[in-house]
């Protein structure tokens, strides 16, 4: 793979890398025919981000040398970010950026051609990997809103920096409400400040959601999304839109954020908390009636150890490809539902998800962040799909 980025696009690439670095620790670089894809997922598999740079973004783009297979690799985010660390420097001094992936030398070479004939070459080592592809389909989401990135960026400003989660929903009069989310604390002596931002329908290009619908997701990742701009300025036609699409009850669906530009596509998928059964008419009194799941980081995933995982914990479904042909084999779905008989397909697990998390008397109920993708995560009834719950990539080298 070889590509060349010039001019202002170097900074755009840098901004994308910065956004990705705030989500995950590993960057999956995937040169495809329709562009260069940069992807990452966070350690708890509750946030996924993907940028696809169209061939036209580059002055020169070659996905693979003729006769060779498409290579894909995984590199440490820290290493790749260090090349693009200073956006100001990228803007001022870098004229061209050349990225090449050579299977034989097993190095990802990033070369920055700067002013005054200075050339900086970074040789980054990478690992072969399988493709990281989250399964999601924004088109099939029933709820959608679309706004300039600036609107969402301004909307998150009033929230305290330390706030973990935020609820987004549609209230009376089609007003879009963002509200700080706090789990119900057993110890209610110290209450936290609740912040709510209310945006009018007019701020959105498109608002396709019923009143009363709401989702809750991690604010930290939402801030990453809302702060990304391609920075091309207001003069450019085709300004960036943020499409936010999400599914409806009963299953908690992820929130899918799409940033579209003529030359790049960004997708951010955030896991959402499961909702209570009843919508409240007035979102101002959005209340959690039962203890809700909270984020549990799986810091060292044990692909084969399902007994330890809580029965109600799910992870973002990943599709993996086996081998270099790029052909999609039977999707291996990542689930960690605990011991599960091979014949139990989707509906069974979905019911469990709806039920109260299992409690041990005397201890607080287990709280888990739930994230599910529509349908595709769980094999349809009757399919011969075995349990095969595996994580996104091989456990090779994963210790």
């Amino acid at each position: 793979m070889k590509c060349l980025v010039t001019g202002g696009n170097v900074k755009v690439l840098g901004k994308a890398v910065h956004s990705l670095s705030r989500i995950g620790d590993e960057l999956y670089l995937d040169p495809l025919e329709d562009g260069l894809s940069l992807r990452t997922v966070n350690s708890s598999r509750s946030a996924y981000a993907c940028f696809l740079f169209a061939p036209l973004f580059f002055q020169h783009y070659q996905a693979a040398t003729p006769g060779q297979d498409l290579l894909r690799c995984k590199i440490l985010m820290k290493s790749f970010l260090s090349v693009f660390r200073s956006l100001a420097m990228l803007e001022k001094t870098v004229e061209k950026c050349c990225i090449s992936l050579n299977g034989q030398s097993s190095r990802l070479v990033v070369q920055l051609h700067c002013k005054f004939g200075v050339r900086k070459t970074h040789n980054l080592s990478f690992q072969d990997c399988e493709s990281l592809q989250a399964i999601f389909d924004p088109a099939s989401c029933p709820h959608m809103l679309r706004a300039p990135a600036r609107v969402l960026g301004e909307a998150v400003l009033p929230f305290p920096p330390a706030l973990a989660e935020v609820t987004l929903g549609v209230g009376r009069g089609h007003r879009v409400i963002l509200r700080s989310y706090h789990e119900e604390e057993a110890d209610s002596t110290v209450k936290a400040m609740v912040t709510e931002v209310c945006l009018g329908e007019e701020d959105f290009q498109q608002l396709q959601a019923q009143e009363g619908v709401a989702i809750t997701f991690c604010l930290k990742e939402f801030r990453v999304i809302s702060s990304f701009r391609t920075g091309k300025g207001s003069g450019m036609p085709g300004a960036e839109w943020d499409d936010l699409a999400w599914g409806s009850r009963p299953l908690p669906r992820p929130a899918i954020f799409t940033i579209k530009d003529s030359l790049l596509d960004g997708h951010f998928v955030l896991a959402t908390l499961s909702e209570t059964d009843s919508y409240s008419q007035d979102l101002g009194s959005l209340e959690r009636h039962r203890p809700v799941p909270q984020l549990q980081a799986h810091s060292t995933p044990h692909p084969d150890d399902f007994a330890s995982d809580d029965i109600d914990s799910y992870m973002i479904a990943m599709e993996t490809t086996i081998g270099n042909e790029g052909s999609r084999v039977l999707p291996s779905i990542s689930l960690s539902p605990g011991p599960q008989p091979p014949q139990s397909p989707g509906p069974h697990s979905e019911e469990e998800d709806e039920a109260e998390p299992s409690t041990v008397p005397g201890t607080p109920p287990p709280k888990k962040f739930r994230s599910l993708f529509f349908g595709s995560i769980l094999a349809p009834v009757g399919s011969p799909q075995g349990p095969s719950p595996v994580l996104a990539e091989d456990s090779e080298g994963e210790g």
Binding site: P158, M193, T195, E196, V197, C198, G200, E202, D203
Partner: protein, 280 residues
């Protein structure tokens, strides 16, 4: 009990925000007293605060275009609320370029002070940010502990130097010693002294000026060069100085020898009194 107030003027809003930032730096939790003419931010001299107390007063009509309150009762027409100061300053930070700010006492699942900020937005519709600050209503029987502190007759009263300068001096001194001596005389001289086994550091401020003393008799008896001193905890002094982001309109320091130091500041139309007790 009811309270509702509104600020529409940008300058008033900014001033109120600055005051709340200052309070947030001076006291983690404080009491807000609402009365028909004034708002007070109070920190009473409990042991938990290290004996420090604070009394900040502002005239409501200098800030609010609308102000309605109904206190505990007709005879006791006041409201005392306890809140986390940072919550208020954070809520007000949102209001930097707001069209209007409304504050009211509400009870949404728990008693709170709701700060509602109407922001400018590109489109015609208004964008509103609401902050529900949890509060604790202070019962009537505890009000007596939250009254304006008595200001004892000082031995010396002196105008303070530029607070930023004082702060940078004290910040450096903090690394050497945990307590400091503040002394001043009626000749416009103020010294900040620290002393350890190895080293003694004194910073001298001269020509500061003294306000006219209340009682003439004491001034005649005393030698104007005689220093009145008090030993205090350096961190408390630093916390006080760190809270003053803007140089005040007037800044006065009253020293009662070996008892306490009393700072009396005026930020435009808002008065702040801060009492630091002597180390025993």
């Amino acid at each position: 009990m009811k309270f509702r107030a509104k600020i529409v003027d940008g300058a008033c809003l900014n001033h109120f925000t600055r005051i709340s930032n200052m309070i947030a730096k001076l006291a983690k939790t404080c009491t807000l007293r609402i009365s028909p003419d004034k708002l007070n931010f109070i920190l009473c001299d409990k042991l938990a605060n290290g004996g420090v107390s604070m009394w900040c007063e502002l005239e409501q009509e200098n800030f609010f275009s609308e102000f309605q309150m109904e206190g505990f009762s007709a005879e006791n027409n006041e409201i005392y609320l306890e809140l986390t100061s940072e919550n208020l300053s954070r809520a007000l930070k949102t209001a930097q370029n707001a069209r209007a700010l409304k504050i009211k006492l509400t009870n949404k699942h728990f008693p709170c002070l709701t700060v509602s900020v109407e922001l400018f937005s590109m489109s015609n519709s208004s964008r509103i940010a609401t902050h529900d600050i949890p509060i604790k209503v202070i019962p009537r029987k505890l009000w007596k502990d939250l009254q304006e502190p008595m200001v004892p007759d000082p031995d010396v009263s002196i105008y303070l130097p530029v607070l930023k300068t004082m702060k940078s001096v004290v910040e450096k001194m903090k690394n050497i010693s945990s307590h400091l001596v503040i002394e001043a005389n009626l000749d416009g001289e103020l010294n900040l002294k620290i002393e350890t086994e190895l080293v003694c550091v004194t910073t001298h401020f001269k020509d500061l000026g003294n306000p006219p003393l209340a009682s003439e008799s004491t001034s005649q008896d005393r030698n104007p060069e005689h220093m009145a001193e008090v030993h205090i905890d350096i961190r408390k002094l630093l916390q006080f100085l760190a809270g003053q982001q803007v140089n005040p309109t007037k800044a006065l320091c009253n020293i009662v020898t070996n008892k306490m130091v009393h700072f009396d500041l005026l930020h435009e139309d808002v008065s702040l009194q801060y009492f630091i007790p002597a180390l025993s």
